[in-house]
């Protein structure tokens, strides 16, 4: 049965009411952000929950660079691997495990003298007897 004129009038009035009230509805996504909050906090406020991923840290970055270096080393790309560790070292200049990784890379390239020097320097950043000190000591060739 085709809709009557009364039906059309009802539909029209319903639409008018909808449009009228639509102005009262708040739209969180378009609300001005509070600039005093960080992006992190703003996103938390907007979504009402923690963002999808936790904020990265310096340690995460150094770990990631070390991981990438290991991957490069695994396929024999020594220079690239070394460059990644050095990049990490510029971020964490006293991280002994970076010296350990550099010493390993030097050794695998046959540069035992270089490995010894790097390992010796790494040893200056660790407490004697620690696990990493023992690892570093393995690369120190007797003079």
């Amino acid at each position: 049965m085709p809709p009557s004129g009364r039906h059309w009038a009802r539909l029209l009035s319903l639409l008018v009411v909808l449009f009228w009230f639509s102005g009262c509805v708040s739209v969180p996504d378009q609300a001005p952000d509070d600039q005093r909050l960080s992006t992190w906090q703003r996103q938390e406020e907007r979504t009402g929950q923690l963002p999808d991923s936790a904020p990265a840290s310096r340690d995460d970055l150094v770990d990631s660079l070390q991981r990438s270096a290991r991957e490069r080393a695994a396929v024999g790309q020594w220079s690239q691997a070394e460059a990644l560790v050095l990049r990490a070292l510029r971020i964490e200049p006293q991280a002994a495990d970076l010296y350990l990784q550099l010493a390993e890379l030097k050794t695998r390239q046959g540069d035992t003298t270089g490995a010894t020097a790097i390992a010796r320097k790494g040893l200056t950043y660790v407490d004697a007897g620690s696990a990493i000190a023992i690892d570093l000591q393995r690369f120190v060739q007797p003079e």
Binding site: Q43, A56, R58, D60, L61, P93, Q94, K121, Y125
Partner: protein
């Protein structure tokens, strides 16, 4: 060769037949003969002309092919700074990153749709970074939201809120090395050039490009007509090929000879090469700007230079401006003459609309856009640092390798540190002049900042006007270093078995040199200070105690330590060297203290991270060189002594100049009559050396503490080194000692805990005033021992 006909033979035959008719016939014959002669001569000339033309064409052909198939473009070695690493926790403030973005030519705008743009809102920066091909890996362009807190980068996410581990800003272009012609360009293959730009270029400069063979008679006729009607040279009839030929091989002279050559070479070029090859060459060759002696060639560099964005990400209105610049790069320079540039851009846009390159809608939008030019070209000039780069390249490369076209040199320069240094040093010198009532601009200075872990040189200033490429004091000013040399004496003593608590006599001393001269060093205050501990003698910079100690240890041992610290200069073999009577540059001093800051490991100071060849890839990359020169224990002790200098010694003002929580180590240096004021020191992974003095070596009222140290403190305040301190070597113990160097109870007034090599610490004594040499029985009785 054809034989020349003679008139006499035919003439005599006709004369003998009939005189009258003979005369008319002979006249006709003469005319015919003259015509034949001229024709013959013309023919001969044509032959000669054609031969010359062919020879000339062969020559021009060789020129065209030689250049086009060989080294097509001059591309000087381009030098870049270190890239700023962005990661959560990076010690950079929003202000610093914004200043760096501005130096890189990023534009602040709410529209971040294009790389090379940013928006600052409070402590948040939204950035659309540029892509860059680094020597170790490519960096993509991306949108980042950076949140800063308390002077460091707290968080970095994508606009969607995804955390980003690390990103690199593109490095700052800091200059060229050995430019052959001053031309600079970024070579782009044709497929990386937007089609709209190609179509637009052809529409404006050479509509019949795909139809003609290098020259366009129609174009020439049109230009001729336009010039005749306008009464001036309003239009050129040159094709793109002719323009390319002119730019590549010829001068801009308006002579027929040059135009003729241009036409011939254009024809030859079209004969040998495809339209695409010619177009690609044109796009990389065309001159569109100038920066000092540097000529900006090609659209690739033009986009970077004027808009701070790669060519492929330019909008229509920006592309139109680039094409418009071809007509007059100086007159239409958008930074200098924005109105003319805007008018020219709009003319280009209207041509594009008429030619159908853009739609009317695109035209309207482009017309409504501003010029969108970056304020600065996205580069910087650091002559003192570039000087060092050149010298280090000269040491490691042959000149012809450096002249290979298109090398990219990645350096260790930290633009933030460099800009900070260039601000702090002149300001510090001006402040000293005001404080000491000195005439303006009479003091000079130099400074070097390094990263001890790797030996990277991060910043250098060669004078108070760092932008001038004059005398580079950081590298070339050899000045007496004064007390900066003392740590070598104390290090030699520690190696010889002395401890930081060893008593050292500060009584006046006389040393006879080999030639009979008497050396009598005096303390700065002209007084003797009894028998201070070795630690105090160093931190108070006592000359007499140092000279005595050095002579006790042995001059050869001290010189050996100086050598191992990395001073490779030939030093005079005299005891005065121990107190710094030796001329060294700030760079030499930085190398020397680098070994101390590097825990006793020598690493050569280095300004070059990598050198990349456009075809052969990485030619050289930085390789961490470390060479152990000192035992970690002795180095730990001297570092503690230098730390003590900043706590209680000549550099104690650092306690209020910088946060007290910072671990600092360093040494002041002052020479006779205060001619030189030095401070060398480090904190965690940042080392700086500052020299202040006068070029003419005249006295100043300044000491290391009052002249160089305040500037050093300001440098460090801006560098904000991470405060990390390595662990103590296992063989080092710390025990409390009294002012006489005896190990006493920690509860004694004035007892200080000092580090000792295990086994070298003084024996325990009872009594707070005990003498280290005395036995326990000599001092105090039962009651005193009980309460100790």
């Amino acid at each position: 060769m054809a034989k020349k006909p003679t008139r006499s033979r035919s003439g005599s035959t006709r004369r003998s037949a009939a005189p009258k008719s003979r005369s008319s016939r002979s006249s006709k014959a003469r005319k015919q003969s003259r015509g034949a002669l001229w024709r013959w001569r013309l023919f001969q000339l044509s032959i000669v002309g054609a031969a010359v033309l062919i020879a000339w064409m062969f020559y021009l052909n060789a020129v065209v092919r030689d250049r086009f198939e060989g080294q097509r473009f001059t591309v000087p070695a381009r030098v870049y700074s270190e890239a700023q690493e962005l990661y959560a926790g990076a010690p950079v403030s929003a202000d610093q990153v914004e200043s760096l973005l501005q130096a890189l030519g990023y534009r602040q705008t709410g529209d971040l749709g294009q790389s090379g743009r940013y928006l600052r809102r409070g402590d948040t920066l939204s950035v659309h970074t540029r892509s860059f091909e680094f020597w170790d890996s490519p960096e993509p362009a991306r949108r980042l939201e950076l949140d800063f807190s308390q002077g460091s980068l707290a968080n970095m996410v994508t606009p969607a809120g995804q955390s980003v581990l690390v990103a690199r800003l593109d490095p700052l272009f800091i200059g060229q090395i050995y430019p052959g012609s001053g031309e600079d360009r970024l070579l782009l293959p044709l497929d990386e050039v937007p089609q709209s730009l190609i179509d637009g270029l052809i529409a404006v400069e050479d509509r019949r490009f795909y139809q003609h063979w290098g020259i366009s008679p129609v174009g020439i006729a049109r230009a001729l007509w336009a010039n005749i009607t306008s009464g001036s040279i309003a239009q050129g009839g040159s094709t793109l090929t002719q323009q390319l030929v002119k730019n590549m091989f010829l001068t801009a002279d308006q002579t027929l000879w040059r135009k003729g050559n241009e036409a011939l070479m254009a024809l030859l070029m079209e004969w040998h090469y495809s339209k695409e090859e010619i177009l690609e060459a044109y796009i990389n060759e065309i001159y569109i700007g100038q920066q000092g002696r540097r000529s900006i060639n090609g659209f690739g560099l033009g986009a970077q230079f004027f808009f701070g964005s790669p060519l492929r990400s330019l909008n229509i209105h920006q592309q139109a401006l680039l094409v418009g610049l071809i007509k007059g790069p100086s007159y239409y320079n958008p930074r200098r003459n924005p109105e003319q540039a805007m008018a020219r851009r709009n003319v280009v846009l209207s041509v594009w609309r008429e030619a159908g390159v853009i739609t009317p809608g695109e035209y309207d939008r482009a017309l409504a856009s501003g010029l969108d030019v970056s304020e600065v070209p996205g580069d910087a000039s650091y002559p003192a640092f570039m000087d060092l780069v050149r010298r280090q390249l000269d040491q490691g490369y042959r000149r012809q390798d450096l002249l290979a076209e298109g090398l990219t040199v990645f350096t260790t320069l930290d633009p933030l540190a460099q800009n900070h240094l260039e601000t702090v040093l002149p300001a510090g010198l001006a402040s000293l002049e005001r404080s000491y009532n000195l005439a303006d601009d009479t003091l000079e200075g130099a400074a070097v900042v390094t990263r001890p872990s790797t030996g990277d040189v991060l910043a250098i200033t060669g004078g108070r006007e760092p932008e001038l490429a004059g005398f580079n004091r950081a590298l070339d000013a050899r000045r007496q270093v004064g007390s900066l040399m003392k740590p070598a004496v104390y290090l030699a003593a520690l190696e010889a078995g002395y401890t930081l608590a060893s008593p050292v006599s500060d009584a006046p001393v006389q040393v006879a040199s080999a030639d009979g001269d008497l050396w009598e060093p005096r303390n700065y205050d002209r007084e003797s200070h009894g028998t201070p501990l070795l630690l105090d003698a160093l931190s108070n910079s006592y000359n007499q105690a140092t000279a005595r100690l050095g002579m006790e240890v042995g001059l050869a041992e001290v010189f050996d330590v100086i050598d191992r610290l990395g001073v490779d200069e030939r030093l005079p073999a005299v005891p005065a060297v121990m107190l710094g009577a030796v001329d060294l540059s700030p760079f030499h001093v930085a190398q020397m203290y680098q070994t101390i800051a590097g825990n006793g490991f020598y690493s050569p100071l280095n300004a070059i991270r990598a050198v990349v060849h456009p075809d052969n890839g990485v030619l050289q990359r930085f390789n961490l060189q470390v060479e152990q020169r000192f035992a970690p224990e002795q180095m730990y002790l001297i570092q503690e002594a230098l730390h003590h200098v900043t706590l209680e010694g000549t550099a104690r003002s650092l306690q209020w100049r910088l946060p007290q929580s910072w671990w600092l180590a360093g040494k002041t240096g002052t020479t006779d009559d205060n001619r030189d004021a030095w401070f060398a020191g480090y904190s965690s992974d940042r080392q700086a050396v500052v020299w202040v003095g006068r070029d003419g070596n005249e006295p100043t009222p300044l000491t290391g503490s009052t002249g160089a140290l305040p500037i050093w403190a300001d440098i460090m305040a801006g560098l904000k080194p991470n405060q990390e301190r390595r662990g103590q070597p296992a063989t080092v113990v710390k025990v409390p000692v009294n002012a006489r160097g005896a190990q006493v109870s920690e509860r004694c007034d004035g007892a200080r805990v000092l580090p000792f090599l295990a086994g070298s610490e003084p024996p325990e004594r009872r009594g707070c005033d005990a003498d280290p040499q005395s036995s326990d029985d000599s001092g105090g009785g039962f009651w005193q021992r009980l309460f100790n």
